[in-house]
């Protein structure tokens, strides 16, 4: 088939699920971030226990053309440890807030991982051979008595079982007073930004003892604090441009060429509010939890509590598109405030940049890059996709009950009120502890990674 593809035209099937089956979730196992690398071959997860697990996609078996390669564990390591700052009486959580991959430059892979206070650059490298035949050492490492050596030999490299090693190459510490919520690598591949609640810093990947502050919204008097930074990202192509979102639902675009301290935005994106609709909850639900540029950089997507909005960088006064994720929650805001769910931070993502289409299994077409589908999570282990072209949307569920490979997932529907149809679920039956906050889309293929509280689901489209 040669499909233009859309959220509904793609038929999603269960592929794999990782993690423990039991319902008793240890806090350390709560997944806090999910990220594919630039080729999609590697998939990294971070958790509340400060651990990173990296999965690698199997090389595609050309004869087994009905499924794409599976993801298997490639490396796992402890990225961050819990700390206690005695000076400030602050407990520093080891939870990994974000992982961002560097584009691959050599045989090794590099990623940045961050907790609330410290960013680390990790090198993940493979070792598949080791030197053998030393003259002065035994194979087990013990030194030989030199007097017993009668002949000399040349040590050689011999193959060994693949070992994947992760080592911290840089530690970027002590630059954030508040809690880091974002890291973003610049398109120059030399610098990156880190954002906390009130400040954004610019780093050079090679330099750990210095960082430039580029945004500071801390008021002189903390009593006047009205707004915090919630997310930040570099433009995918312009290395001088970045955006940051706020708890008041605004996005500011800044140009680093304008001044050293980008406190004055170049553009301010804000949707005007209807004053008659204003309530106690308005500001809280307008807080932006994620911002993502489209691959071209022409658009950006924001996620607030109830919706996903697409903005055209050339239009500041309103979004070009708005998609309701779970509008039925608007009449539940009181209880969602009481159980703190109203503060849940959902992320969002675009479909991959290259649209690869298989035709007859022998010829492959690459359609031009299109950001036409957006994905985001919801409650009850539901996640949603919106097709910008067809305007259709779909709700799917990440559940072990649907785990037959190559069986197309059944769409879900929530009944807001009134008579519940068969197969619909009523709002009051939704499980608000089952949140899908983190999702990721493979950069080139229709493969998605969806994180429930402590499990990672991988879905792929049904290949003919």
């Amino acid at each position: 088939f040669l499909g233009a593809g859309g959220g509904n035209d793609i038929q999603w099937c269960f592929s794999q699920v990782k993690g423990a089956v039991d319902d008793d979730v240890a806090e350390a196992d709560i997944i806090s971030t999910v990220e594919f690398n630039h080729s999609g071959e590697l998939l990294a997860t971070g958790d509340k226990g400060g651990r990173v697990v990296i999965f690698q996609q199997e090389q595609e078996n050309k004869t087994q053309s009905h499924s794409r390669g599976e993801y298997n564990v490639y490396s796992t390591f402890q990225s961050h440890e819990p700390e206690f700052d005695y000076l400030k009486s602050l407990e520093i959580e080891e939870k990994i807030n974000k992982i961002r991959w560097l584009p691959q430059k050599n045989a090794a892979q590099f990623l940045l991982s961050t907790n609330d206070k410290t960013i680390k650059l990790w090198k993940i490298s493979e070792r598949d051979k080791r030197p053998e035949g030393y003259n002065l050492k035994e194979e087990d490492g013990r030194y030989r008595d030199p007097t017993t050596v009668t002949t000399l030999r040349v040590p050689v490299f011999r193959p060994m079982d693949l070992m994947v090693e992760a080592s911290p190459r840089r530690i970027f510490a002590n630059a954030h007073t508040y809690h880091i919520n974002s890291i973003s690598i610049n398109s120059d591949y030399e610098t990156y930004l880190s954002a906390d609640d009130l400040r954004i810093n610019l780093w050079h990947l090679e330099i750990t003892d210095r960082s430039f502050n580029i945004v500071d919204i801390k008021p002189a008097n903390m009593e006047e604090l009205t707004e915090v930074i919630t997310a930040a990202e570099f433009h995918p192509n312009s290395c001088n441009t970045f955006v940051y979102s706020s708890s008041k639902g605004t996005i500011r675009l800044c140009d680093m060429r304008a001044s050293a301290l980008c406190d004055r935005h170049s553009k301010l994106f804000e949707e005007p509010e209807d004053p008659s609709n204003r309530s106690f909850f308005s500001e809280i639900i307008s807080s932006i939890s994620d911002v993502k540029f489209s691959h071209s950089g022409r658009y950006m997507m924001t996620r607030d509590y109830l919706s996903v909005k697409i903005w055209d960088l050339n239009m500041e006064n309103r979004p070009v598109e708005t998609y309701q994720v779970h509008e039925y929650l608007r009449s539940k805001l009181c209880s969602l405030y009481e159980n703190d769910c109203i503060f849940d931070k959902f992320e969002c993502c675009w479909n991959g940049s290259d649209r690869q289409v298989i035709f007859n299994r022998t010829v492959t077409f690459f359609l031009p890059p299109l950001c036409s589908i957006v994905m985001t999570g919801s409650y009850n282990n539901f996640f949603r996709m919106f097709d910008r072209n067809t305007k259709r949307d779909i709700t799917l569920e990440a559940s072990r009950e649907n785990n037959k490979p190559r069986t197309v997932l059944k769409p879900r529907k929530v009944c807001a009120s009134g008579k519940r149809k068969k197969d619909e679920i009523s709002v009051d039956s939704l499980d608000f502890n089952k949140k899908i906050l983190h999702t990721a889309w493979h950069p080139k293929e229709n493969i998605i990674a969806v994180a429930t509280t402590n499990n990672l689901y991988i879905f792929q489209d049904k290949m003919n």
Partner: protein
């Protein structure tokens, strides 16, 4: 005469519910209070200054250990590093890798 009934949005109805439950809820929606709470995440009330001064004063006495209420940090009760919940890193491998 006709009276126009004002339709209440779902959001406003929820707000009324919340205010009925918590009449003392701050007038400022969202705003400073919950932002400040967010910025203070992770704060524990161990004061190293108090601790060391108390230690100096009571050289010959046993330090008062935490009473049944570990959150009590005023008066003579001196929180000690031992009172703080143990923060050990997970030595266990993630179950995702299992």
């Amino acid at each position: 005469d006709t009276q126009e009934k004002e339709t209440i949005t779902p959001e406003r109805a929820e707000e009324a519910k919340l205010k009925a439950k918590y009449p003392n809820l701050g007038q400022k929606p969202g705003g400073s209070n919950f932002l400040m709470k967010r910025l203070q995440k992770g704060q524990k009330y161990f004061d190293s200054g108090d601790y060391n001064m108390a230690k100096a004063k009571m050289k010959n006495k046993q330090l008062p250990s935490a009473g049944p209420d570990k959150n009590l940090v005023t008066g003579d009760h001196i929180p000690t590093p031992q009172d703080l919940p143990q923060r050990k890193s997970s030595l266990v491998t993630s179950k995702l890798a299992g």
